[in-house]
Amino acid sequence: MEKKLKNIFVDGPIEPVFISNSIANHSRKTGIGGHSIFLGQIRADPKEGNKEVVAIDYSTYRDMALEKAHEIREETFNKYDLHCMHIYHSLGKVEKGGISLFVFTSSKHRSPAIQACNELVERIKSELPIWGKEILSDDQTNWKVNT
């Protein structure tokens, strides 16, 4: 593998200011007319026994995840007429209310950005080797299951 793979991982939560900086970085790309953004946020889901999720601890098989993310990026750029595409996913602990996924697509007209963003979210959730361990209010843990 000689290709340089773009990193998608962020340690801990994705901060709102990281998102606004990312948005501001596009103001010179004046061919863009629409941005579509998806943010995944940690829910304080209730659990049996009067407990709730207080955080999720994410881990990954990094080499495979970056190769797969690269493949998903290439396929999405080939399928949709996009100016830009950015994918960020948290690793490690993200507390409830924190943001763990940030998908950001931009295109001349709105439709490609919107469609690509939705498709990326689906593919990230189903194809990237990432695992979320829920940490409960009593410090017990539970492996998250994507539905």
Partner: protein, 77 residues
């Protein structure tokens, strides 16, 4: 000489290890069988096998230098 097999998420948790070791199997079916024999705890866990970072669902030969990983269902996002 053994091969090392990467384990992730709930499998690493259950095995209390991020790497399992086996005598080198010739192909993926041999690997599945050997895993279940040596690590009976795996029988009740759902996982896919990746060889060199690609998921392989069928049988396929395994060369000694292959990177083998056990992948429980993904739960990113």
């Amino acid at each position: 000489m053994t091969i090392k097999i990467k384990a992730f998420g709930p499998i690493a948790d259950k095995m209390n290890a991020r790497e399992l070791e086996l005598d080198p199997p010739g192909n993926l079916d041999d690997l599945r069988k050997a895993l279940h024999e040596k690590y009976p705890q795996l029988v009740h866990l759902d996982f896919a096998i990746a060889v060199d970072r690609k998921i392989i669902r069928e049988n396929a030969p395994l060369s000694p230098g292959s990177e083998v990983a056990l992948l429980p269902p993904f739960s990113g996002g």
